[in-house]
């Protein structure tokens, strides 16, 4: 049996070889999920377009880089992004990472909108209160039939 072992091993390896070769080829051509590409900026040649929108040589190089990490080395999306940031800097990501000072850009629109909403509420409260006070002081107007008829005619003109 022992003397057949090398043969068995050779056959086993030869069976494996094409598979590993195809896996090697596979990672280079496998498509990158759109949600991964959308989050990356093509920084290699300074075009600064989203990777999913870029077809330059630099974009192809960056894609190869991502495929190598994701498919050859088996990194997750987040790990691949971390590698890209380490290699190219934060500008490689299509959005500032949600940490530290970057929170300002993420939160500013909502802070402004909510803060503005609070100001509007306070302003409205004041104006409505003032208006109610004025209304109490004023006397309601009743239209005589002639005025009512005039009003009706006016309304007909504009509807």
């Amino acid at each position: 049996m022992r003397k057949f072992l090398p043969l068995v091993l050779i056959i086993f390896i030869s069976l494996l070889a094409p598979q590993s070769l195809s896996a090697e080829e596979d990672w280079e051509t496998r498509p990158i999920p759109t949600d991964v590409e959308v989050g990356v900026i093509c920084v290699l040649d300074g075009c600064m377009m989203n990777l999913n929108a870029c077809e330059t040589q630099a974009a192809q190089q960056l894609r190869l880089n991502i495929r190598e990490k994701m498919y050859k080395e088996g990194l997750s999306k987040e790990q691949t992004y971390a590698y890209l940031v380490q290699t190219y800097g934060e500008k490689v990501l299509a959005a500032p990472p949600k940490r530290g000072f970057n929170w300002t850009v993420w939160l500013a629109p909502f802070v402004v909108t909510i803060g503005g909403g609070a100001l509007i509420y306070l302003g409205l409260e004041k104006w409505v209160l003032r208006s109610q006070e004025n209304e109490e002081e004023s006397t309601p107007v009743t239209l005589n039939p002639e005025d009512e008829k005039k009003l009706e005619e006016e309304i007909k003109k504009y509807i």
Partner: protein, 673 residues
């Protein structure tokens, strides 16, 4: 002749400076002689700016490559159509186009018979703008500069040629309309500042500039729409809006301009928000300048920035100058801006307009801060960051949905005070229909929360608009006895301002459907095919027939892929598409010409990526659902704006509502939303 062009600019600059002084003297001394003289100077600026423009066009058409600008942006093989478009292909030419438009707007204001008390200062402010552009053109970026080393008699046989990306009809019209919008907002700004300078505290400036504002907004809308169409067809990445800094630069003033269009209604009706309106038009005007600074300075990387740091510096200085001038004036004249009316209720059209303004401004802040954040991050942290769709989409989407919801609510709430009954009458059915729509989509398999919310919001707003028009038609039919079609037409025409607004809202909702649709059920794949091989995507069966090469015109070559499109399930032939790569002599990289099959349901969008000698080709294939509705909606928005602008009875503002019924003022010309 180039010298004539340059002297036209210098003369126009001198005349504009004289005109500013003459207008100020005319206003301060109420002097008709100076007024006539200032108007003459304005006309001179217009004529000399036009002359300079025509001279540049002449050089572009005749191909005088001794002119540096002509050399850099045209070549012998460039078609006449694009030779004309080269006017705005580069820095100097596009600034000349801006000046040309601004000078004509200024002349229209100076010779306007409306609001003569405001004309002198408004014209002076506009002439000051012209003077800045003339200064830049005369001393910083002269469009008539000769190429280095040129001497009289020397002939330069050919030019460097135009950027291939600009050789698309969308890029021919998009800049002109965008500039018409940008320049247009200078007019209401000039009148607002004049109202403060002349201590005119009423809403006269708003009434005078209403048409100007809508025209500026209309052109800016058209500019953004055509820009998106150009990006979709020409950039070849499958999308129409990439949140590029230059796109954002024209979108931000559009947002604040839209807020201004709504908030002025409150001042017209209730004498309120005077300060806010002046601030809003100031911000909008300043943002048009700031956008130009972004485009010209090259401080941010963009697919279509001109990038010239010297020019950017001048724009930044001018932008800050105008901002401080406006803010100073607003603070000095704050007593004029005291409002004299109150809100009767939390629940009223007025308060809903405030929320509308809040969200529009919130959106503007989001886009503005996102656009400039790379600069802020670099300045504060010393770290360069990018801000793209991954930031803008999630931040803008919730605010956008809220805005569209308000679009359905605002117009149907009563002025002054809405009752619960009013709310139930107007919103119950639209709400039920929207929920049913969301339910059906959910059953059909839609699971994305934003998509469901987006479609439901769109349905709600469409229903409120239709319900309101049906109700109005019914009332008109009852009151006048007209048949329903006539009553409908009468209703629309008698109050074009209000119903033009409804048409605009309707168009915007269709755009929302297109935007949500194209982000929801889209499909994409990258596939390498040999001739004769097929691939299935969505409901399409695509067969790659062959790869070919063909000349385009006299100097361009294209590699194209011939693809047959069939129905996947029925097998019937749907047509052929031909994605291409076009080789321009002026560009190292070939340009993408997409293969597009567009229907109301979806777009089949094919990009030819690469190919090999054996004839195999790699394609990026996308299915973009409902994109056509984005364009249809956009053109309906434009139609709505034109409808609202159409002069005559029915286009005026409505009555004023101040405090209580005691102060109800007579109707002036029509009821308005």
């Amino acid at each position: 002749m180039a010298e004539a062009g340059y002297f036209s600019l210098v003369l126009a600059l001198m005349l504009s400076l004289y005109g500013i002084i003459a207008f100020i003297i005319a206003a301060r001394r109420d002097n008709p002689i100076f007024m006539a003289s200032a108007r003459g100077a304005t006309l001179g600026v217009t004529l000399f700016s036009s002359l300079a423009s025509f001279i540049l066009i002449y050089f572009l058409i005749t191909g005088d490559y001794s002119i540096k600008y002509v050399y850099e942006y045209t070549s012998n093989d460039l078609p006449l159509f694009y030779r004309l478009a080269a006017w705005w292909a580069g820095n100097a030419g596009s600034l000349l186009l801006w000046l040309f438009l601004l000078s004509w707007y200024t002349a229209m204001v100076a010779f306007s018979k409306k609001a003569r008390n405001l004309t002198p200062y408004a014209s002076a402010i506009l002439l000051f703008n012209s003077a800045f552009f003339l200064f830049v053109l005369a001393f910083v970026t002269n469009p008539f500069e000769r190429v280095a080393g040129w001497y009289p008699g020397a002939v330069i046989p050919d030019g460097a040629g135009m950027n291939p990306l600009l050789q698309n009809p969308g890029m021919v019209f998009h800049p002109v309309t965008t500039y018409l919008g940008y320049v247009g907002f200078a007019v209401p700004f000039a009148y607002a500042m004049t109202a403060l300078l002349t201590k005119t505290g009423n809403d006269q400036w708003i009434k005078v500039t209403r048409h100007w504002t809508i025209i500026a907004w209309l052109f800016l809308t058209l500019g953004n729409l055509w820009g998106a169409q150009w990006a979709y067809a020409e950039l070849g990445w499958g999308g129409y809006w990439g949140w590029d800094p230059v796109e954002n630069a024209s979108f931000i003033p559009w947002l604040t301009g839209s807020a201004f269009l709504h908030s002025v209604m409150i001042q017209e009706r209730k004498n309120m928000l005077k300060t806010w309106n002046v601030v809003l038009i100031t911000i909008t005007y300043v943002l048009t300048l700031f956008g130009t600074f972004l485009v010209r300075s090259g401080v941010l990387t963009s697919v279509h920035a001109f990038g010239d740091s010297t020019l950017g510096k001048y724009f930044l200085i001018f932008t800050l100058l105008m901002l401080f001038f406006a803010l100073d004036l607003i603070i000095l004249r704050r007593d004029l801006l005291v409002q004299d009316a109150n809100f009767e209720s939390f629940l009223s059209k007025e308060s809903s307009f405030l929320i509308n303004n809040l969200i529009l401004v919130g959106l503007a802040v989001a886009v503005f801060f996102g656009t400039v954040y790379p600069l802020v991050s670099e300045a504060v942290r010393g770290v360069k960051v990018s801000v793209g769709a991954s930031f803008f989409n999630p931040v803008v989407a919730p605010l956008g949905i809220a805005l569209f919801l308000l679009m359905g609510i605002c117009p149907l709430i009563a002025w002054r005070k809405a009752s619960p009954k009013n709310l139930i009458d107007n919103f119950l059915w639209p709400l039920i229909i929207a929920l049913v729509c969301a339910g059906i989509l959910f059953i059909l398999g839609f699971r994305k929360g934003y998509a469901l919310l987006g479609f439901a919001t769109a349905m709600f707003t469409i229903c409120t608009i239709i319900l309101e028009i049906l109700r109005g038609t019914k009332i008109r039919h009852k009151l006048t006895g007209e048949g329903y079609p006539k009553a409908f037409l009468g209703l629309m025409i008698r109050n074009r301002r209000r119903h033009g607004g409804y048409i605009i809202h309707f168009g915007l909702v269709l755009m929302l459907i297109g935007i949500v649709g194209s982000h929801t059920a889209n499909l994409d794949m990258i596939q390498t095919l040999k001739p004769g091989q097929s691939v299935d995507i969505g409901n399409y069966h695509l067969t790659f027939n062959r790869l070919g090469e063909k000349p385009i015109g006299t100097s361009l070559d294209a590699v194209f892929a011939d693809i047959t499109v069939s129905d996947r399930s029925k097998g019937t032939l749907l047509g052929y598409v031909e994605p291409q790569k076009v080789f321009y002599p002026t560009s190292e990289q070939p340009m993408t010409e997409i293969g597009l099959r567009s229907t109301l349901k979806e777009d089949l969008y094919i990009i030819l990526s690469t190919w090999d000698r054996e004839g195999s080709a790699t394609f990026k294939i996308l299915i973009n659902p409902l994109v056509s509705w984005l364009w249809i909606g956009g053109y309906i928005v434009i139609l709505g704006a034109i409808f609202a602008l159409w002069p005559g009875r029915g286009s005026q503002t409505g009555s004023k509502y101040v405090n209580t019924v005691n102060h109800f003022q007579p109707l002036e010309g029509g009821r308005e939303g």
